[in-house]
């Protein structure tokens, strides 16, 4: 793994490049390769080593430093019997003040400063070491007080361990901050833990901090947490109110909201992919004057060359390019194929993406294919090079329940393939265009509601069975991607941001 003492841009990556394939990782890869004159470093933040496989990307030459850290690896502690630690009263009072502010007045100007300064003391010799948190009377008392003041769940044991596990990553992040190479700009790709590392690094080194969000991290965590099965609810049958979110669920949601807010407040530039996401960032606490939109872009020349490889006519192939994970809602695509095949028996569905990220979900998808008797029509291809498959497909299909600005749609457009997508993220804008000149280009596909196999099938059949409509949508896609989503536009905008950051440095 490459290491360096200093870099130009240090990327803070949570659960993405280079160990996870996907849109965000491709974007990171694209950015690093798009600025060959800059020396990049990257900190990969993961949960546990066993959750990731090998690297999914070849490391670019200008990625001169890569560090991998796991937040929940080896939390079991050592065999050494712990001894009681005497906590610093002043620091513990500050910890209490911070929590009071987070509860009552997060917008207070001291909140971010207090958090960063306390994080900075969370090192082995600091006043807020991990041992202080784990083995001091003051920390124990603060947890007890917190339970008495705030918890509406009867179980103290669950409260105690929730607080412990919630805070555990901070000491890991502080250790990473200690080891980091010098950087001229810190650039995080999400809020959450990566964002908090950015907050800390900015506080310690006084360098510009850029945040580029693809999806909205806080929103995604919220949705995960609302449905998570691992969070306990110990309310009795008489206390249980189905309309009230259980306490620990609320606690975890607030935790990620706080991380998001603190990250937004510390960021010098906050970049969203499209306007709806920028609005969401404002709601979550991003200062308006620091926000902007920079849409994704693709290498139009590279993918445009594939158009000449296409055969005559519209291939009856619907291709879903993406990981086989619940957020892509592959099952809706498979269900839609049952309807498509009933009316167009020679149609095929290709699912081009790795299946190892969520094997149980992949198994469910395979079972569904069997249950719907689609073994002959639905093919799981695994990870594929887009340049190999795009010339052979008739439609790029996206059945996701959540997306930001999907690169695969743009890559499909550049290769002359229209899309049928669910109405998520900026997909409507990509298909029908933004009001004005973009909209005048025409529809480059169809948009349907999420989890609606019937609508997805109808829209796909409409395009596949009518070569004239297909050609119109294909041409509109090519025109749209060339005019608004070319890669050089993305690089120009980020070059300006980086130069601003470097100039501040000078």
């Amino acid at each position: 793994m490459p290491t360096a003492d200093s870099v130009d841009v240090l990327l803070l990556l949570e659960g993405t490049f280079p160990y996870v394939a996907g849109g965000v990782s491709s974007w990171v890869n694209q950015i690093i390769r798009g600025f060959p004159e800059l020396r990049f470093g990257a900190i990969f933040i993961g949960s546990r080593p066993q959750d990731y496989g090998d690297m999914r990307y070849a490391l670019p030459d200008n990625l001169v430093h890569l560090e991998v850290t796991y937040l929940y690896d080896d939390l079991g502690g050592s065999d050494i019997r712990p001894t009681k630690v005497q906590a610093d009263k002043t620091v513990m009072a500050e910890v209490k003040d911070l929590h009071d502010l987070l509860h009552a007045n997060m917008a207070h100007p001291d909140c971010g400063r207090l958090f960063a300064s306390l994080m900075d003391q969370a090192h082995p010799c600091g006043a807020l070491s991990r041992e202080t948190f784990l083995h001091s009377e003051a920390a124990w008392k603060q947890i007890k007080d917190g339970y008495r003041r705030y918890s509406t769940d009867p179980s103290f044991v669950d409260y105690f361990w929730t607080i412990r596990i919630m805070h555990a990553p901070f000491w890991r992040l502080r250790a990473v901050a200690e080891r980091c190479p010098q950087a001229r700009i810190y650039h995080s790709i999400s809020t959450g833990y990566a964002g908090i590392l950015g907050v800390l690094l900015k506080h310690r080194n006084q360098r510009p901090f850029i945040l580029s969000e693809h999806g909205i991290y806080v929103k995604e965590r919220k949705i995960d947490l609302y449905q998570a099965q691992w969070i306990k609810d110990n309310r009795t049958v008489f206390e249980h109110d189905p309309s009230q979110v259980s306490y620990y669920r609320q606690l975890w949601i607030r935790f990620f909201e706080h991380l998001g807010y603190l990250t937004y407040q510390a960021s010098d530039h906050i970049v969203a992919l499209y306007e709806a996401n920028r609005q969401r960032q404002l709601i979550d606490g991003a200062p308006s004057e620091r926000t902007s939109n920079i849409p994704n872009g693709v290498d139009v020349e590279r993918f445009g060359a594939l158009r000449s490889q296409r055969s005559e006519g519209v291939p009856p192939v619907l291709c879903l390019i993406g990981r086989v994970v619940p957020i892509k809602d592959i099952k809706t695509f498979v269900r839609a194929m049952r309807i498509v095949v009933d009316r167009m028996p020679h149609a095929e569905a290709w699912i081009a993406g790795p299946e190892d990220e969520d094997p149980s979900y992949a198994a469910e998808c395979h079972d569904l294919v069997e249950r719907l008797e689609l073994q002959a029509s639905v093919k799981f291809l695994g990870f594929q090079k887009l340049t190999d498959i795009l010339p052979k497909v008739g439609l790029v299909v996206l059945s996701s329940i959540s997306e930001a600005l999907p690169l695969v749609i743009l890559e499909g457009y550049a290769a002359g393939v229209p899309t049928v997508s669910t109405d998520v993220g900026s997909c409507r804008q990509l298909v029908y265009g933004l009001p004005g000149a973009d909209e005048a280009i025409g529809a480059s596909g169809r948009i349907v509601r999420i989890a609606d196999p019937e609508a997805l099938a109808q829209a796909s059949l409409e395009l596949l069975s009518d070569p004239v409509v297909w050609k119109q949508t294909s041409d509109a896609g090519i025109a749209r991607v060339e005019k608004y989503y070319a890669q050089h536009m993305l690089f120009d905008r980020y070059r300006a941001l980086y130069e601003q950051g470097f100039a501040w440095q000078a």
Partner: protein, 346 residues
């Protein structure tokens, strides 16, 4: 209660000291020995009595101990006995208070087995609290309330939220629907796997029947529409045909299921025949009559609806159905429509 034994031990020890030879000796050593032994007894008694004290008297621990010690020391044996007597009295009083605080048996609250509350949160009420104009926290609460609503009622509402403009609402609605569908799919997958293994005739019959029921349930719960509904109905039919081929004794439940599948397909005449046959075979009228009434209603045969519901009025049925029966049979006590606060079946 070990403190009591120590206390009595101390009293006996003190008594032994003063009944023994030491008080009669005249040497300084005997005098010191006497007072040391007496002080030791008093200390043991004070400490053990302290344990016997009610908690409110133990707040000022050191002073209470000193008082007890002095009391026992000033009046040998007698003081100790007095202390024990007082301790016993207060302890007994505390225990009496404790006894009185024991939970008393109270009458159980009256719960109606067919609770009316479940249907109060009717579809209309929940839907109105989920519209886009409602504050997001109220919408989220209403959405979560659907977890406690039967899936037959909740799923169409969740389905309508899949196109909502708010991401959070849309995705949670999706998650809830997906979880419902997954529950049934897991069962279908398990039963299909079972079917591939060697099974006894009875087990194979049960397995096929479950598969037909599960496919029908996907439709009943509103989880399959259009082409998928047709596919699931075909699957249900496939398994039902296999069950019917094995069903020599004509189980009423199978014909009841057949009626429900036919009803889902819109084959009303055949559905009615199947329901009637199921009832003849022994299917409970409480489960069949509502379907027959529904079929009659769709054909605008209101006299037949009335007759079916009149029969239903004699039976124990769910509160939701009771409301309909009450209206149709005139058993309803509300005279004017505008006085009716809720229509439970809506």
């Amino acid at each position: 209660m070990k403190g009591v034994y120590w206390a009595w031990g101390a009293v006996l020890g003190d008594l032994a000291v003063f009944m023994g030879p030491l008080p009669h000796a005249t040497s300084d050593a005997a005098f010191v020995q006497l007072w040391l032994l007496h002080a030791g007894s008093c200390a043991i008694l004070a400490t053990s009595s302290l344990v016997l004290m009610p908690s409110k008297n133990r707040a000022t621990l050191h002073w209470t101990w000193l008082l007890l010690f002095c009391f026992a020391a000033i009046a040998p044996v007698l003081g100790s006995l007095c202390i024990l007597l007082i301790s016993y009295t207060t302890l007994r009083q505390a225990l009496d208070v404790h006894n009185h605080a024991k939970p008393q048996t109270v009458a159980l609250p009256e719960f109606e087995a067919r609770s009316q509350q479940t249907s109060r949160a009717g579809q209309g009420a929940i839907r109105s609290r989920l519209t886009a104009q409602v504050p997001s926290n109220v919408r989220m609460q209403s959405l979560l309330t659907l977890q406690a609503v039967p899936s037959r009622v909740a799923n169409p509402i969740l389905e309508s939220l899949l196109g909502d403009e708010t991401d959070d609402v849309r995705l949670i609605a999706f998650g809830m629907l997906d979880a419902e569908e997954k529950k049934l799919s897991v069962h279908i997958h398990q039963e299909q796997k079972n079917l591939e293994t060697p099974l006894s005739s009875r087990a194979r019959y049960d397995c096929l029947r479950h598969l037909a029921e599960l496919h029908q349930e996907l439709i009943y719960a509103g989880l399959a529409h259009g082409g998928l509904k047709t596919h699931n109905l075909n699957q249900a039919w496939k398994y039902l045909d296999m069950v019917l081929a094995m069903d020599e004794q004509h189980a009423c439940g199978i014909y009841f299921l057949k009626g429900r599948i036919l009803l889902a397909q819109g084959e009303t005449q055949q559905a009615r025949d199947a329901f009637t046959f199921a009832m003849q075979l022994g299917q409970s009228p409480a489960s069949v009559l509502p379907y027959l009434a529904e079929l009659a209603f769709e054909q605008r045969a209101f006299a037949t609806v009335h007759a079916h519901l009149q029969n239903l009025a004699q039976l124990q049925v769910a509160s939701r159905t009771t409301a309909i029966v009450d209206i149709w049979t005139g058993r309803d006590s509300v005279l004017r429509f505008r006085d009716r606060r809720i229509l439970q079946h809506i």
